[in-house]
Each structure stands twice: as structure tokens, then as C-alpha cells.
């Protein structure tokens, strides 16, 4: 400190003076120039004397003194004013000046000390800071390291866990297997023990028996007691056991074995041949399948060579199969299998190629047609849906209408409507009844007419019969064929005709008279040789209604139908009458039937 002090003052005084000089520069402008020059001289030289002399000169002592007093007062020192030794003298009062100096020195020393301390503090602090920073960085490094270690350990732990799991599962399986084996062992052990026990029991019995036998010694001789010897089942005598017999047995045994082997070999050969055939066929087919592709994929020469090779193979195979050497058969077999394998591989490759091609093509197609097809598909779907919707609506509407139709009327209107319908029906029914009544009346009329006609007919028939009888009598009596007679008969016939024509004219008034007139005509022609005046057969048939005469048949049949229809009214008499009439008009019954049939 001491030496420091000695060296410092110069510099510090220099420093102070700098400061003070600068402050003085501001305070006393009169000395600006001097100070400036002093400052510049200061910056050039570092001698203290020149500096001190610069501040205070001979002239400005009292100002300097006052200035220094002011400064001392401002510093808070005791007011040891520096005064001149004598007014106007160039010297100072030494005591206050020295005191002031001493105090200033003290102040300076104190500041120096504090500065030192501060510097020391600062040093210390910087060193601790450095230390701390170093620590910090070291700890950071450590931390990083430890984090890495931790992650590494985590990883290891995970792996170990996995291992544990696998090992556990292994352990479980092993345990299961052990359990299974233990079960097996247990069952085997029980089996063994059971067997052993059985054997032991048997030996015990043996021992017992042995002891019993040894004790008893009553050896019951074993013997067979047969009433008589039996013959052998196949009737042969029993043979002596000779070597020849033994050999024959051996021979037989081998024979049976051989026959069995031969049989199985035969069947195997058949199977083999079939399989070979199948293989050949397969091969041929495969070649066939591949060959149309081959010109496109490979050269025709290759194809030919292939075919050649195959045919060679086939030939060889055929040869060897025909041949008897085993080796060549095997060779052929191998070749066959190899060639089939080759073909199969080719076929497979080909198929794969085709598949890929096809998939490509399909992809293309799909990509092209996708949109279109889907679009059309969608359109179709839409259309169909719309149609379905429409149909549904339609159905709904119809259903509604139907329902309306059925149930929208309330009871009154429904009744009314029903009434309307029934009214209509009633009207119709009335109409029909009217018609019916009319028809019934007509029918009655006709019936009466018919009955009258029938009665008349009956009477006329009787008359006719009488007439006929008389005629016959006449004829008989006058057997000679006279023309007058014939003329008479013809005139009869004519009269018959005329009578016939009459009713024809009357047909419209009474329909039923026709039958009677026709009877008349029919009965009037029993002669063997019909004369010219006698009506022709067709006319007769017509009148007999054998040939359908439109008007008459209709009427008659109608009449008949009417008659038959009135049965329901309970007028069975009419029916009976008609029946009778039928009976009478025997000729007509046939006609009737025919007509009814027609």
C-alpha cells in the first residue's frame, strides 16, 4: 500500500488534475486559453511540476486560494481555509494548507482503499462467475450424458421385457409339454404297474399250483376218450409227417404267395398302363393347346422341332414299351415324365402370360369403358327407379280410388246405389218375365193347336185306315191291273197330293198339320212300284222331315222344345201326349230323332 501510494499520487494527482483542470476550464473562462494550453501540454508531457505550475501562477494566487477553499468546502472538509500569509503576499498560511493537504491525502487514501477493495471484490466475483459458468457447462454436459444413458437404459429395458415375454411363452409351452409327457408317463406307469401286478398274480398262482402239485402228487393223466375216431372233414386219410410233406407245404405256401403277388402286380400294371395313357393324352393335349400359340410366340421351326422331339419321344416310348428291357422302360418313363413336366411348365407360363395380358386388357377396357358403362348403368338405374316410382304411385292411386269406391259412400248413398242396381235388375227381370209369359202363352196356344191337330190326326188316321182297308179290299178283289184302277189310285195319290198341297198352303196358320199330311202321303205309298204321280222320294223325305226342311224343322223342333220346356210347369200330360204322338207317328220318331240330332 505504501509503495502503491507513492506511485499513485503522481498519476492520481495527474488524474485529479485532469478532472480539476477540466472543471476549472469551465469555471474560469479567463484562464481558458491557459488551461487549454495546459491541457495540451499535459497530454504531451507527464511531468507533475509543469501541471501544478499551470494551475496556479504568481498572478492568480488569491483566486486559486479561494477556488481551493470552495472546493474544500464542497468536499465537506473542515473549513480550514487556506489563507495567504499576508494579504497580497505570494505565500500561503502553511497550517491550514497542510491540514487541507493532509485531509485531502486522507480522503485520497480512503478512496484508494475502497477502490482496492472494490477491485478485489470484482476480481473475486469474476472468478466465482467463471467458476460457476464452468460448473454450469460441466453439469449440462453431465445432464446430457445422463439423459442419453437413461434412454439407452430404457431401450435395454424394453428389449429385456420382450425377451421376458418370449421366454415366458416358451416356458409355458415347455410346461405344457412337460405336463403332457407327465401324463403319458403316468398312463404308461399305470399300464406297467397293472401288467406287472397281473404277472405277479399269475406267478403267485403258478407257485400255488406248483406247491399244490408237489403236495398232491395225484397226477391226473390227461387223456382223450373218444367213442370212435372221426373221419377227416375232407375225407382224405391223414398223412405221415415226412420231408416230402414239409416240402409240399412249403411249395404250397410259396405258390399262394406268388399267386397273390401276381394278382397285385397285374392290377398294378393295369393301373400303370392307364396312368401312362392318361399322361400321354395330357401331354398331347398340352402340346395341342400350346401349338397354335407357338407360331405367334416362337418360330415355326421351334414348333416343328418340338413336335419332332415329342414324336421322337413318343416313338421311343412306344418302342421301349414294346421292348422288354427294364432300363429302357424306366428311361422312357423318365423321359415321359420330364416331357410332361416341361409341357406343363410351358403351359403354365403361357397361362400366366395370358392372365397378365388379359388383366391388362381388362384394365384398359375398364378404364375406357368405365365411365361410359357406369354412366349408362346409372342412367338405366335411374330410369328404372323412376318407372318403379311411377308404378308405385299409380298403384297407390288406384288403391285409393278403389277404396274410395268401396268405402267413400256413407250408408245412405250406398244403399241408394244398391237400390239403383237392384231396380235395374228388377226391370230386367220384369221384362224377362213378360217375355216369358208371352212365350208361355204362345206355347199354350201351340199346344192346344197341337192337341187339336193330334185329335184330328187321330181321326183322320182312323178314316185313312178305313179308307186304306177298303182300298186294299178293292184292290184285292180287283186284282187285275186295270188302268182305271191305277188312275183311281193315282187320282187317290193326286188327291193325296192335293191334300198335301192344301196343308202346305195352310202351313203358316198351323204348323203341326204338316206331319199329318205327310203321314197321309207316306201311308199312301205302300205300293212296290212308285208311279209317276206318286211324289218323289226326296219330296217324301222332306215331308217326312228326314231331309231337313228349314222352316218346318225349325218350327217342329221349336214346338218340341217348347213342349219339353213346359214340363217344369207340371204339365206332364202334354209331355205324355207328345210321347204318345211320338209313339203313333212311328215313322216320325226316327225323323224326329234325326232332326233333333241335326
Amino acid at each position: 500500500m505504501g509503495e502503491w501510494w507513492t506511485t499513485v499520487p503522481i498519476e492520481s494527482s495527474l488524474g485529479n488534475f485532469d478532472i480539476s483542470s477540466i472543471s476549472h476550464a469551465t469555471m474560469s473562462p479567463s484562464k481558458q486559453n491557459n488551461l487549454l494550453s495546459m491541457y495540451s501540454s499535459l497530454s504531451l508531457s507527464k511531468s507533475s511540476y509543469s501541471v501544478i505550475s499551470a494551475f496556479c501562477t504568481e498572478d492568480n494566487i488569491p483566486q486559486c486560494i479561494s477556488y481551493i477553499n470552495q472546493e474544500l468546502a464542497s468536499l465537506g472538509l473542515s473549513s480550514t481555509c487556506i489563507e495567504a500569509s499576508s494579504p497580497g503576499a505570494a505565500g500561503l498560511n502553511p497550517v491550514p494548507a497542510l491540514n487541507a493537504t493532509y485531509e485531502l491525502l486522507q480522503i485520497h487514501r480512503r478512496t484508494m482503499c475502497s477502490l482496492e477493495e472494490l477491485e478485489r471484490e470484482q476480481l473475486k466475483k469474476s472468478s466465482t462467475l467463471e467458476h460457476v459458468q464452468m460448473n454450469n457447462s460441466r453439469l449440462k454436459d453431465q445432464l446430457e450424458l445422463s439423459i442419453r444413458e437413461k434412454s439407452g437404459l430404457h431401450e435395454m429395458e424394453r428389449q429385456l421385457q420382450l425377451k421376458i415375454k418370449t421366454l415366458q411363452s416358451c416356458l409355458k409351452t415347455e410346461k405344457d409339454e412337460v405336463q403332457k409327457l407327465q401324463n403319458i408317463i403316468a398312463s404308461r406307469a399305470s399300464q406297467y404297474s397293472h401288467d406287472a401286478k397281473r404277472k405277479e398274480r399269475e406267478t403267485a398262482k403258478l407257485k400255488e399250483r406248483l406247491s399244490q402239485l408237489l403236495v398232491d402228487r395225484k397226477d391226473k393223466k390227461l387223456a382223450i376218450d373218444v367213442l370212435n375216431c372221426l373221419g377227416r372233414s375232407d375225407g382224405k386219410r391223414s398223412h405221415w409227417k415226412t420231408a416230402k410233406a414239409a416240402a409240399s407245404h412249403e411249395g404250397e405256401m410259396y405258390k399262394s404267395l406268388l399267386s397273390d403277388y401276381e394278382a397285385s402286380q397285374r392290377s398294378l400294371m393295369l393301373e400303370n398302363a392307364e396312368l401312362k395313357k392318361v399322361l400321354q393324352q395330357m401331354k398331347k393335349e398340352m402340346i395341342h393347346v400350346l401349338s397354335p400359340r407357338q407360331p405367334s410366340i416362337r418360330g415355326a421351326t421351334a414348333d416343328d422341332s418340338q413336335e419332332q422331339a415329342d414324336s421322337d419321344l413318343e416313338d421311343r416310348a412306344g418302342d421301349s414299351s414294346r421292348g422288354s428291357l427294364d432300363k429302357s422302360c424306366e428311361h422312357a418313363r423318365e423321359q415321359l415324365t420330364n416331357s410332361i413336366r416341361q409341357q406343363w411348365r410351358k403351359l403354365r407360363n403361357h397361362m400366366e402370360r395370358l392372365d397378365s395380358q388379359a388383366s391388362q386388357v381388362q384394365n384398359q377396357l375398364e378404364s375406357n369403358k368405365d365411365v361410359i358403362s357406369r354412366e349408362t348403368h346409372e342412367d338405366e338405374m335411374e330410369r328404372m327407379r323412376r318407372e318403379v316410382q311411377q308404378c308405385k304411385e299409380f298403384i297407390d292411386a288406384q288403391q285409393q280410388l278403389l277404396q274410395q269406391l268401396n268405402t267413400s259412400f256413407d250408408d245412405e248413398t250406398a244403399a241408394l246405389l244398391n237400390d239403383c242396381y237392384t231396380l235395374e235388375e228388377k226391370e230386367r227381370l220384369k221384362e224377362e218375365w213378360r217375355l216369358f209369359e208371352e212365350q208361355k202363352r204362345n206355347f199354350e196356344r201351340e199346344r192346344t193347336n197341337f192337341t187339336e191337330a193330334a185329335i184330328r190326326l187321330g181321326r183322320e188316321k182312323k178314316a185313312f185306315e178305313e179308307d186304306r182297308a177298303s182300298w186294299l179290299k178293292n184292290q184285292f178283289l180287283n186284282m187285275t191291273p186295270f188302268t182305271d184302277r191305277r188312275r183311281c189310285s193315282s187320282s187317290d195319290g193326286q188327291s193325296a197330293l192335293s191334300i198335301r198341297s192344301e196343308p202346305e198352303m195352310r202351313m203358316s196358320s198351323s204348323k203341326v198339320q204338316l206331319p199329318k199330311s205327310s203321314t197321309y202321303t207316306s201311308f199312301s205309298t205302300p205300293k212296290p212300284a212308285p208311279s209317276a204321280t206318286v211324289p218323289s222320294t226326296t219330296e217324301l223325305y222332306r215331308t217326312l222331315r228326314l231331309i231337313p226342311d228349314p222352316s218346318s224343322t225349325r218350327h217342329s223342333s221349336h214346338g218340341r222344345w217348347h213342349e219339353s220346356s213346359t214340363i217344369e210347369d207340371g204339365e206332364s200330360q202334354v209331355k205324355a201326349k207328345s210321347r204318345l204322338r211320338c209313339g203313333d207317328l212311328s215313322i216320325f220318331s226316327l225323323g224326329e230323332d234325326e232332326n233333333s240330332l241335326t
Binding site: L181, N183, I184, A186, S187, R188, S190, Q191, Y192, S193, H194, D195, E202, K205, L206, R209, L213, D216, K218, D219, K220, K221, L222, A223, I224, D225, V226, L227, N228, C229, L230, G231, R232, S233, D234, S238, H239, K241, A245, A246, H249, E250, E252, M253, Y254, S256, L257, D260, Y261, S264, L268
Partner: protein, 384 residues
Amino acid sequence: MNFSEVFKQSNQLCKVSPDGKYLATCVQYRLVVRDVSTLQILQLYTCLDQISHMDWSSDSLFILCAMYKRGLVQVWSLEQPDWHCKIDEGSIGLVSSRWSPDGRHILNTTEFHLRVTVWSLCTKAVSYIKYPKACSKGIDFSRDGCYMALAERRDCKDYVSVFVCDDWHLLRHFETETQDLAGLEWSPNGCVLAVWDSCLEYKVLLYSLDGRLLSTYSAYEWSLGVKSVTWSPSSQFLAIGSYDEKVRILNHITWKKITQFEHPSTINNTKAVVYKEVERRPVVSDDLSLHNITVGTTLFNTQSKYEICPLPVQIPVVKPDPDRANPKIGISSLAFSADGRYLATKNGGFQVQSLSWHCTGDSLILLGKEQLCLCYMETEQEDK
């Protein structure tokens, strides 16, 4: 279905003669022979003791009656009722007795399976075969009656002896590769002998007639193995039923498995038709997993009918006690139909004592403890 009146019998000894004309039943110590069509008693024989076993000879002329306790076998003739034959095994005892295929020899297995005695009824001669094996099916005759295969065990090893039935000449004697031979069966054509191991090991061996090993088949290890084996009538297939509830079929050319049938407890196969008998009392019985069964008939004295169950059908399964030996799981009986079209199998512990096909192959009869079921197959589909 008509049933006759009930006849008494003992020991379930009731057999129809091979020619189908006679019916023999045993009642205690009596043997009753009836005519099959009229059920009239034709003959009545009296044996010396209670009959334990009875069998017809192949030509239907003789019947043997074995009395195991006394060690006696008596043979009766149908044609000559006063003909008699008595075979006394003496102190050596008798465990089983059977006819030879020609109907003139009787094979008696003595107690403890010490030996097989062959008695000839023609010559009164005796032959002995030593060390027969005591297993479920130790003797088998080929179908044509020419050969007999006998399982033997000496020095803890299994052997098979093939005898010619004509004169009991030993044709072949070979060792088998089994741990513990449980049974053997000839194929119907008589050329192959199927030999299977006990249930502790799944092994089926096929030997040709001359003793060569043709093939071995083993489906799996360690678990309980073969339970039942049967040949198809054409000798083309061998069906093996095992404790794992599966039937495996081997073909005769390669002796490899061609197919296997499972017996799941839930039937889901759309081709299967499941008939369930519904009775007044709600007891489900005779549910089998048959393939393609059709109409069944109803029993005549209970009001029951069969209704078709809709799929899937859950079959009630009773889990057997695993601690006991010979558990009641697995395929216990198999039967091919006569034309080899169908295979009927019985799985599990169902109370079906036997299943057998009619000789025309169209119907199957199932015999339960108290019930009888006839199944007719419809021959419309061609099935393999």
C-alpha cells in the same frame, strides 16, 4: 321286427351254426340245440360241469363245450347224438379251447399259457406247442383255414410260428420286432400277417406268409398306441384304431397311411348325419360317430324314435380316469362292411358291445348292453 320268446342261457353262450340251420345255447351244464326256423329243440346234451365256452365246428356237425374249472372239453355230434368225446387236460388246467378250421382238431390252451395242446379227433393224437403268448389275440387262423399263426414268447422275446393246419407242421418261426406282442391277424387273402404291439408302444408290423418283414408302421411315440386292428375284406386296407381316438388306414401296396379318420367330440362335417335316439326318459344312448348312416329302426318295446340332430352336434364324452390302466378311450372296435365300402368305428366308452355288418354290407347291427340298433345304409352314393 319280431322277437321270439325268451330262452334261457348262461354265460352268453348262444351261437348259430355256421350253416345257419341250428342254434345252440348253453344253460348251466346243458347244451340245447334248436332249429333256427322253428326254434324247436332238436338235441339236448348234458355236460359234466358248468359250460364256460361253447363253439360250433366249421362244418356244423360238432359242438365243443369247454369247462375251464374242471379242465374238461366235451364234444357232441349233431348227427349221432350218442357219439361222445371227452378231453381231459388233467391237472394242467384249461384256459381256452377252440376248434381248428377243419373241424377235426381241438386246440386247448392250458393254464398259465404253459402250452397249446392240439387234440386230433381223427387220430386221437396229441401235439404240443410250447410257450404260447398270453395276449389278447395270440392265435389266428387264416380265412381259408390253411395256416395258423401263433404268438410265442421265449426269453423275453416275441416270436410268431406259422403252422400248416393240415398236419400241424411248423412252417415258419420268426422273431418279431415288438416289445410286447398284443395280437396278430391274417389278411383275408392269407398272404400277410399283421402283428401289433401292446398299447405302450404304437407299432404295427406286417409280415408276409413266409415270414419276411414287409413293413413297419408307427404313427407316434410314447402315448398309448394301438387299440384295435382290422383288415378290409379285400385285403387292400388295414384299419388301425388307437387310443388317440383316430383310425388310420394303410394301403396294401406301400403299407403307408392313406387316410386317417378323427373322432371329434363335436361333429361339424356337413356330410355327416347324426341320429339321436330320443326316448321318453331323456337318456342318450348309442351315439356313434359313423360315417353316412341313414335310417334306423325303432325298438319294439320302448317308445323311442330317431331324430336328426342339426349340426354341430356335441357328443357327450365321459373322460375316463387316466390313472387306471386300459382307459376307456380310443377306438375299441372297427368293422368293415362286406364290400369294403363302409367302416364302422366305436370310439370312447360307449356301451356298445359289438358291431357287425350284414354279409351284404348294407346294414349294421349294434349291440348294446340293453339295446339293439339296426342301421341301414342307403346305397345311392358311391363312396370309397
